[in-house]
């Protein structure tokens, strides 16, 4: 049976860090960015081809989008590194929900805390033209304990 040398372990961790730095230095990757509603829908459709989109909002930073579907369904698209992940919300998937002014004129932050071990936080920067309150109301239907953990504020709240 083999024993593990702590020095080998340390050198291995340092090697991983070195590869990480070399990867950053070499580049060749582009942080994921949503340029349009069509982008968000196309990415969602790869994972959920049956989703029938009715309304889409892409965040001001292009890092996330929220999509409303037929029958009250809600889907999320979110950047991670140079890729995206998608989620179709089910009952109880939202643990907390808030809508707050962002500091920029009329902009709002829609924040969700999800019952998702690998993706607990979702944030969307809403433009002044977006009806944040309506999205907030839609999302409240997915709270694990409706009426709780809801925080709503701001000019469109």
């Amino acid at each position: 049976m083999q024993e593990f040398d702590p020095l080998v372990l340390l050198l291995s961790v340092l090697s991983v860090f070195a590869v990480f730095l070399i990867n950053r230095w070499l580049g060749g990757f582009t942080p994921a960015h949503l340029n349009s509603k069509a982008d968000a829908l196309a990415r969602l459709k790869l994972d959920y081809p049956a989703f029938e989109e009715q309304e889409t909002v892409v965040g001001g930073d292009g890092k996330s989008a929220i999509l409303a579907g037929a029958g009250g369904g809600i889907a999320l698209v979110q950047a991670i590194g140079d890729r995206f992940l998608t989620r179709l919300l089910g009952p109880g998937d939202v643990k907390a929900l808030s809508l707050e002014p962002s500091g920029n004129a009329g902009m709002q932050h829609l924040r969700l805390r999800l019952d998702d071990f690998t993706n607990a936080a979702f944030e969307l920067l809403l433009s002044p033209e977006t009806n944040g309150a309506a999205w907030h109301k839609r999302l409240a239907a997915f709270l694990d304990a409706p009426g709780q953990s809801v925080q709503e504020a701001g000019p469109h709240g």
Binding site: M1, F4, F20, N23, R83, L85
Partner: protein, 313 residues
């Protein structure tokens, strides 16, 4: 007992690091593929953790192996033909394990880690589970001990099998000729295995020899019309190795806790990933069989034929 269970994977690890750097440089010079630093670091940390946890848990597997070995009817020994036979037999039992790892949630909870990157490059090969021993993966190798192959030979062949599988995790290599593609597992065959395109789900479980997939009807050819999209059905939103390692175990434990009745609790262990009881209210999920059936129902026959069209060159 020193070096009795010497694992070729540990000997090869420095070369893995070197080849990853070479592939990165190759891609920067126009080769096919992508590396993203967070994803790369996560994959490599998972590989490192796999080495540590495999060594830490080895006593469990070794105890089980040696217990079984005492009942062997033959002493096969170290003849050259025994090495060949052992390597081929070990690869067959790898196929059986790998198929179970995709079709039984208990094994998938461990194996999902390897599929959790949305990238496909040499670093993905190192993205390995930390819960091998917990998942009882080693039981699939026990028939080799029971028959009477030498333990050191089996361990070496298993390690050599994994070392072979390193280089096939790349987009930089296309098709490799009919003869080689017909017998061996190749980058093209394994890209299919890592893809989430409905047509590619649950295909190409081979380790070294693709013939097992051809024999047991799980082979799917990569086509240019259906480029692979990598990852899992429910992709991860984290680069945290701890969360990557344990996310499916935690999800499974939650499902078992919420399930009503012993039968449903057992099925959350044993049914395919994505299975839920008919009255399940904690989010709808799909098994790969359901995804494939839905895709076939929604996609015209002409489109299905087009996607299955010409093998990639």
């Amino acid at each position: 007992m020193d070096n009795f269970f010497r694992d070729p994977v540990q000997l090869a690890t420095p070369f893995f690091f070197l080849l990853i750097l070479l592939e990165m440089a190759w891609i920067r010079r126009g080769g096919r593929g992508e590396y993203e630093p967070g994803d790369t670091a996560t994959s490599m940390m998972m590989g490192l953790g796999n080495l540590v946890t495999t060594i830490a848990g080895a006593f469990v597997a070794v105890a089980a192996y040696l217990w079984v070995w005492q009942f062997r009817p033959f002493d096969i020994g170290f003849a050259w033909w025994a090495w060949v036979l052992c390597f081929v037999a070990e690869d067959f039992f790898y196929y059986v394990f790998h198929r179970a790892a995709h079709r039984v949630r208990w094994f998938w909870a461990s194996h999902v880690v390897h599929h959790s990157s949305q990238h496909y490059n040499l670093s993905t090969a190192l993205r390995q589970t930390w819960t091998n021993t917990l998942s009882l993966h080693f039981i699939f190798r026990m028939p080799l001990f029971l028959v009477g192959f030498e333990p050191a030979m089996i361990i070496f062949c298993a390690g050599a099998n994994l070392v072979y599988q390193f280089w096939i995790h790349t987009e930089s290599v296309g098709k490799m000729g009919n003869l080689f593609e017909g017998v061996m597992n190749t980058p093209s065959h394994h890209r299919v295995h890592h893809a989430t395109n409905p047509r590619y789900l649950d295909a190409n479980y081979a380790g070294v020899f693709i013939v097992w997939d051809r024999m047991f009807a799980s082979f799917v050819e990569e086509t240019a019309e259906d480029p692979p999209r990598y990852g899992i059905i429910h992709n991860l939103g984290t680069f945290n190795p701890l969360r990557v390692a344990f996310h499916e175990w935690i999800a499974m434990a939650g499902d078992i806790r919420r399930a009503r009745g012993l039968r449903h609790k057992l099925l959350f262990f044993l049914a395919p990933p994505g299975w839920t009881p008919p009255d399940w209210t904690y989010g709808s999920r799909q098994t790969t069989d359901m995804i494939k059936a839905e895709w076939r129902a929604q996609t015209s026959k002409a489109r299905q034929r087009a996607l299955a069209g010409e093998p990639v060159k």
